[in-house]
Symmetry: C2
Subunit: 470 residues, 2 copies
Amino acid sequence: MQEREVDVAIIGSGSAGLYAMSKVRPAGKSVVLINGGELGTTCARVGCMPSKAVIQVAEDFHRRGVFKRFGLEGEEALTLDVSEAMGYVQDLRDMFVERVISNSTDKMPEGMFIQGYTHFVAPHVLEMEDGQRIRAGKVIIATGSRPIIPESWQPFRDRIITSDEFFDLEALPKSIAIVGLGVIGLELGQSLHRLGCNVVGVDVADRIGGLTDPVVIKSAIDIIGKEFPLWLGHGAEISEGSDGKLRVTAGGNSIEVERVFASIGRSPNVEKLGLDTLGVATDDRGIPLYNANTMQVGDLPLFLAGDVTGERPLLHEAGDEGRIAGHNAASDSVMAFRRKTPLNITFCDPNIVQVGCTYASLDLDTAAVGEVQMAPVGRALIMAKNKGVIRVYADKASGRMLGAEMNCAKAENLGHLLAWAIQQEMTVGQLLQMPFYHPVIEEALQAALYDLYAKVEAKNPGPITELVPL
Amino acid sequence: MQEREVDVAIIGSGSAGLYAMSKVRPAGKSVVLINGGELGTTCARVGCMPSKAVIQVAEDFHRRGVFKRFGLEGEEALTLDVSEAMGYVQDLRDMFVERVISNSTDKMPEGMFIQGYTHFVAPHVLEMEDGQRIRAGKVIIATGSRPIIPESWQPFRDRIITSDEFFDLEALPKSIAIVGLGVIGLELGQSLHRLGCNVVGVDVADRIGGLTDPVVIKSAIDIIGKEFPLWLGHGAEISEGSDGKLRVTAGGNSIEVERVFASIGRSPNVEKLGLDTLGVATDDRGIPLYNANTMQVGDLPLFLAGDVTGERPLLHEAGDEGRIAGHNAASDSVMAFRRKTPLNITFCDPNIVQVGCTYASLDLDTAAVGEVQMAPVGRALIMAKNKGVIRVYADKASGRMLGAEMNCAKAENLGHLLAWAIQQEMTVGQLLQMPFYHPVIEEALQAALYDLYAKVEAKNPGPITELVPL
């Protein structure tokens, strides 16, 4: 069988793989990009993009609930044609996918892109399903991840939906249990409720949206729990119900639903790569141990990038990991890069956001915590979105910002402000010297920062906290 | 007549005066706060707060225009009860005003707050209308401003509305000409249009929203001009029309309207203060010449703060000016403070924002300009708000960010990110090293920054623009 030689092989043409290509190709290296399964990136096909479209539709429909308070009448007449709505989501999704493909794999010269699954048969040697072999100086694994469905649920697979199938639905079930209330479960669970499904949310943990701060957890559970029931603290069991329904049981609760949405996590796509032939050390999920600053696996000519690492399943992080892996795979020596300040956004309403250090990771002896409740915040009141809480963390002695957890309107935007500030190692005092306009949601953050400032030892020089003396 | 002696007298209990109090009182100085006219700050009574409430109602009603595209039916049945809507705005306004008053003047000890107009009768000596005199070591003038109505319009005053009257309306006119398309004119003009008035916008300039960048001006005029007609480049003349209407003529255009909204500017409240007795130098509007870093007038024991300066009619700037004036009035020596990076937001839809240096103030030989059109931006498409443009400016040699002008969704939030970055003297390359989540409107800014980065000479160290080598 023929064996083709390249400098670099990239496995996976999702976001991470494409970003890796963007560094390998300009370096003048010979490269192949290999992709098994569908084209178009998890993000555009079944992830961030179509979920935001569903959320937008659901939020616009849900908004009718505030119309009466300012004299906007007739909201009872509003009805949502769900199949139209899903068609709209699918059209947007298809456009985003088409954009990705037409700007990447479609444009690559003959032979640079190979469709099909591949696996290692020896160090440096990949074999396609048709037997074709590729000898690569370096390999980047960017094979992504897939939704987990527990083995015990397999008998009910025909009635279990994951994010892989959700966006292709033409109709929505009348009733659904969302099992797993992380980003995906919360975003789509709340949207399904708002689109008219009977939704129950289930999570084995006592918290939602990946939050760790007890004050924000309580607020988020209170707010979301008013929209649809949340069963927390017990794993879900599925059994056959009546009339083709599924019975979902968790702790003392039980319900029959048409469908179960499985959002309990994602599994890295590593099993079929033949990694055992490389003899690399892996963690308990089978992911090769790697350096997050170089993306290199041990000292091998092997790099990881993107969701396959199981670490930061976010487009902008996949972009960084692809760039790092691509740069290093195309270079003679391996270079380490500083990773960005963590930023996690759940686009539920109100948004749930985590920035920098989580509350759980704080040393409460040395950290200070500031807080503001959204209820009285002027602009939030005007927006009729004055729910939630912001909690901000700083080092008590130096005042350096450490992180934040929050659930509030426009937290996605506040998250950027905070992530940028934390990455620049700013203090809470320095943040208070920045302009906060009026009336904006940023003023809620400002109030939390004032509360925090009172609790740190480091104070701004000069007599006026908010201003720098000349 | 009795003469009372105090260390500091503050004239005006609006935002600037109250912030000044917050610095004078803790310093242990004796102080009086004197206020002529209504209590409650321009911001809360007739400014930022109630206008945001009107905008929110108008935007929620206007949003029905996108419902059909995703299968949300029945929007024809939505009707707005304008008197209910205005009542809602007034209730919110009253609550915000009450909050201000109950937390400030209401809580002051007997004699510290004096209601009534006052004026200088000699240096250091103020006289109230009832003849009571106050001898003050230092005086802070924070008397604010009021809407301008040209002398030639006085015969039609009964049919001219300003922001002072607007929020008390119970019904809206069927037709209105908005004369002056700055912040107030654009915000309320667009809202009135969306609430059902026939609106025409008139401005003597060829630009709107205070913009100076021709690309953003064109975009803003195109977008707003699709909602209601804009007559630009000619001053408005008013004459008597038929059936009690006013005829508004500007250039070759003429129309009859029930009301005219005057938003051509605001005049500082200085005429009746008896400033001539102090012999201070003033500008052509009668505003004493002052130092914006100390708020001091010449070397006199006299300070200005807030809208009366005619410079930065914004709450957060009034806050800074009040703090500076208050600190300096309560101190033996005068201290200078660095002012914040300029940030101006017009909360029309899409927002119009100016940050840092205006385009007009750039030296185009040494500055670079980056741009992104909003049309293809993913999240903007999903929000059905993909209109507008972002233009960002940096110093060509150093890459240091200078400013931006933009009209786009969530520009109010992007404005904060940019203002904070500019105040920290960041370069465009450093901004690209910050996290940009996906899919968010911040990615539109990111695209504009990439465009800008390509045009500046200073590049980030290391092989990957977006990442800092370790």
